[in-house]
Every structure is written in C-alpha cells, then in structure tokens.
C-alpha cells in the first residue's frame, strides 16, 4: 500500500491531531467551568462568580480558535471521509461547548444577583440535575476522545433523566413560592439556574450526536437507532 501515512501528509495529520486535541482541551476547560459555577452557587462565592463571568471570553476564544482551525483545514487540505467528519464535528462540538460555557456564566451571574437575597429553600433537585449533567458531559467528552459510539448513545439516552428532574424542580419551586411569598424572588432565580442546567444537558446530547456522526457518518444515527429498536419483531 505504498509509503506510511506520516511520510505523505505529515503536516495535514498533525493539523488534524491538533484540532482533535483542541476540542478535548476545550471540553476539559468547560467541564471545569461547569463544576466551578455550580460550586459557586453552593457556596454563594461572589468573588469566584465574578471571575467566572469574566473568564467566559476565554472559552469563547477557544471556540473561535477551533473554528479557525477547522476552516483552514477545509480550505487548504480538502479533508474527506472520516477526516472531514471530524473537522465538521469539531466545529459543532466547539459551538456546543461554548454555549455550555455561556450557561455556566449565566449561573455565575445569577449567583451575583442572589447574593443579596436571604438564604433558604431547597436546592437538592438542582444538585441532582447538576450531578447528572456533570456525569453526562464527562462521558460525552470521553466518547469524543475514544470515538465510542456506545458511550455516546448512553449519554444521548440519559438526557431524559435531567428533563424529568427539571420538571420536578420546577414544580417544587412553584409550590414553595405559592406557599411562601417571601421566597418568590429567590425561587425565580433558582428556576433560572435549573433552566440553565437543563439547557447544558441538551447541549451535551448534541455533542454525543456529533460523536455518532464522526463514527458512523450518519447525522441522525441515534434517531435511526431508536427507530430501529422501536420496530416490533
């Protein structure tokens, strides 16, 4: 089959690897930011919340850098097949990660507003949502790194759990606000937080879908899989 790959398109392969690594690096940074933002909420750490809001542009810059790399690769190297799928997916995943970063920043901003509010109310539901979302993102990033479609599929399916919890938290907060008028302001803020976490989990499922695209070349691989499984017999 001729010469080894490295001998022919060494520069190109290095560019692809760097793109792949840049996505993974951004994923790690966003996961860390997610943990930090929820920790900040827990501890009502105003100083840390300010830092998180200010650092959001670091994540934005990572996205731009990945998009630029992807764009350059397409423009100059004409990637094809699985290479092309990786380049497309890298750009999509970077966008999703950047949005997750925005939700983290959103939570930090809520912390800054809430700091003036009296403490109280239940946050257990939100914590459960956050724990699951953390786990989902961690696994989605692992799936991207290992191109593991089974892990990605599990992540995609588990998003429902977060949606169900969000529904519970919503009910819980509404009921509490109805019963104790003094908690309305705080409760509303908590709903915002819960909404942000729920949106993060949605974005994680998009990342899982991108992994499936890289592996299978099918943009709707999971939906196809779901339909196959739901066909009787």
């Amino acid at each position: 089959m001729g010469q080894g790959a490295a001998a022919i398109r060494e520069h190109y392969l290095r560019q692809l690897t760097e793109l792949d690594q840049a996505v993974q690096h951004m994923g790690d940074a966003v996961l860390e930011t997610m943990r930090s933002s929820l920790d900040t909420l827990d501890r009502m750490d105003v100083a840390r919340a300010k830092e998180l809001v200010e650092n959001d542009n670091v994540i934005d810059r990572m996205r731009h850098s990945i998009e630029e790399r992807a764009f350059t690769l397409i423009a100059t190297q004409q990637p094809a097949a699985s290479d092309l799928r990786l380049v497309m997916a890298a750009s999509t995943v970077a966008t999703e990660l950047e949005r997750i970063g925005d939700y983290c920043s959103g939570i930090a901003k809520i912390v800054l507003i809430m700091a003036a509010e009296p403490e109280g109310g239940s946050t257990a539901g939100i914590h459960r949502m956050a724990a699951i979302t953390d786990n989902l993102l961690t696994r989605a990033l692992e799936a991207f790194k290992a191109r593991d479609i089974d892990v990605a599929a599990a992540v995609w399916m588990n998003d429902d759990e977060v949606d169900d919890l969000y529904h519970d938290v919503f009910q819980e907060q509404i009921e509490e606000m109805a019963a104790h008028k003094s908690t309305v302001r705080r409760g509303t803020y908590m709903l915002w937080v819960a909404h942000n976490v729920e949106r993060m989990a949605d974005r994680v499922t998009n990342i899982a879908e991108s992994v499936a695209f890289v592996v299978t070349g099918d943009v709707a691989a999971f939906r196809d899989r779901l339909e196959m499984e739901s066909v009787p017999g």
């Binding site: 089959m1 001729g2 010469q3 790959a5 022919i8 398109r9 190109y12 004409q78 990637p79 094809a80 097949a81 699985s82 290479d83 092309l84 799928r85 299978t216 070349g217 099918d218």
Partner: protein, 258 residues
C-alpha cells in the same frame, strides 16, 4: 442516446502480465462515473477496454464482457471500429489533428466513417458539436484556422466536440483536464455536467476533488501486492467521499497513501 455500460468480469493483460482482474460494474446512462485510484491501478486500462482501444496495444488482450445498452462490445460479430464510433474518447493531452482546421477536426470523424452528408448538414453538425462543447462562440469566426492555434483548454473542447460529432452514446474521458489550468479545467467540468443530459460519461481522474464535484458515481481501483488492479469499491460519490465502506478507499481519499 445515452446507454448504460456494464462490465462483466473484465480482466485485461499486456502480454502475459495481468493488469486488471474481474471488474464488474454498471455505469448508468446520463450519469458521470469517475474512476479514481493511484497510478498503475488500471483505471486507464479499464477505460480503454470499454471501447476496445486496449487491444490496439501489441500482445494486449481482454477477457469478460462489456455491454453497452444491449450490445456486447466483445461479441463475436462486433466490429471494433464501430464500437469506437459509438464510444467517444478524450485523452489527457488535447490532441486535435494537427494539420486540420477547427472545422475539419470536427468533420473528420463523420467523413471518415462515411457519414458525411451535404455541405449544409455538415455545417450544422460542426456547429451543433461545437455548441455542445461550449466552444462555438469562441471559434465561430475562425473555423478555418488550425485547431492547434487554440489554447489548451479550447483544444480539449475541440476534442470533445470531435467526439460528439460522431453522436456517440458513451463518452470516455481519460484525465481530460490534468494538462489544463484551473479555469480551463473548471470549464471542462461544467461542460461535462451539461453533457450528462445526453451521454453516459466515464472519467478517469487523479483529481479527487474533481471526481467529488462532477461524478454521480465513483469507483475506486487499487492494485494489490501482485500489482493487479481491482475495483475495490463503487458507489454514490457523496457516500464515497463522506463515508466510504472500505478502509482502503478511506485511506486513499484521505491521502494516507497513494
């Protein structure tokens, strides 16, 4: 009229040397089929087997059948010259007849094959062929000038017009734009997309992006360790370039070898 081209277990030899083995594939009418693969994989040999040009090489032979529509190109009573009249071919280097005018280049085929009609009919045929080749407007005022005075891209379109003047059903193109600059090359590509309405086209190209741009179907050929070319994978071009089935196709189109 465009006809399908079906290769049935086609093998070809140069003397004792087997060059391509057991190629079976159907090329659809009114579609562009591209053949890609590294040098020496037998793309051109296969292409030249389709119109029986391979057998012109001393000692060369072909086994298997090629069906154009419902006629077997290698059928017992089939005349190779007639086969080639119905299957036009364009080569890598533009090769207009050097001593002839633009007009005579186009008229040569019909004249030599006894198809020359009255002067007016020939004028119409030449104009029609040149229009089909998207060259008429550029050369209509200099039809009597030598074809070799044209630019490379124009010469190549003369060759395409020359092939079309024979009213073939199939057009074979062996790297038709690899000797041309990018703009002339794009013109040829655009032309092929238009000609698709009337012909079955098979193009050998080293330019994978060109195959991706213009071909409806793509076949990937590769010679293994025994240096015999085979058809590794054949399918819709979009699939071949986004998600090929065979790992060798994937490796080739992503530039991992070649």
């Amino acid at each position: 009229m465009a006809e399908s081209v079906r290769a049935d277990e086609v093998s070809a030899w140069y003397g004792k040397k087997l060059a391509i083995r057991d190629i079976s594939v159907t090329m659809e009418p009114n579609k562009v089929t591209a053949l890609i693969g590294p040098s020496g994989c037998g793309k051109s040999t296969f292409l030249r087997s389709i119109n029986r040009l391979h057998e012109v090489v001393p000692g060369a032979k072909v086994a298997g059948d090629i069906w154009v529509g419902d006629r077997n190109v290698y059928g017992k009573d089939m005349d190779a010259v007639k086969v080639r009249a119905n299957i036009g071919m364009v080569f890598q280097r533009p090769n207009p007849f050097p001593t002839m005018s633009i007009y005579d280049n186009i008229a040569a085929g019909p004249r030599l094959s006894g198809r020359a009609g009255k002067r007016k009919q020939m004028d119409e045929l030449v104009e029609h062929s040149l229009r089909q080749a998207a060259l008429w407007d550029e050369v209509k005022d200099r039809l009597k000038e030598p074809a070799t005075g044209l630019s490379g891209g124009q010469q190549q379109r003369v060759c395409i017009a020359r092939a079309l003047a024979m009213k073939p059903g199939v057009l074979l193109l062996d790297e038709p734009s690899s000797a041309l600059d990018p703009i002339a090359s794009f013109k040829i590509e655009e032309l092929l997309l238009q000609l698709k309405n009337d012909y079955t086209m098979v193009i050998v190209t080293h330019n994978m992006q060109q195959a991706a741009r213009i071909a409806d179907f793509t076949g990937f050929m590769l010679a293994g360790t025994d240096y015999v070319g085979e058809l590794v994978e054949y399918g819709e071009t979009t699939k071949m370039f986004s998600n090929p089935s065979d790992s060798r196709t994937e490796a080739y189109i992503t530039g991992r070898f070649g």
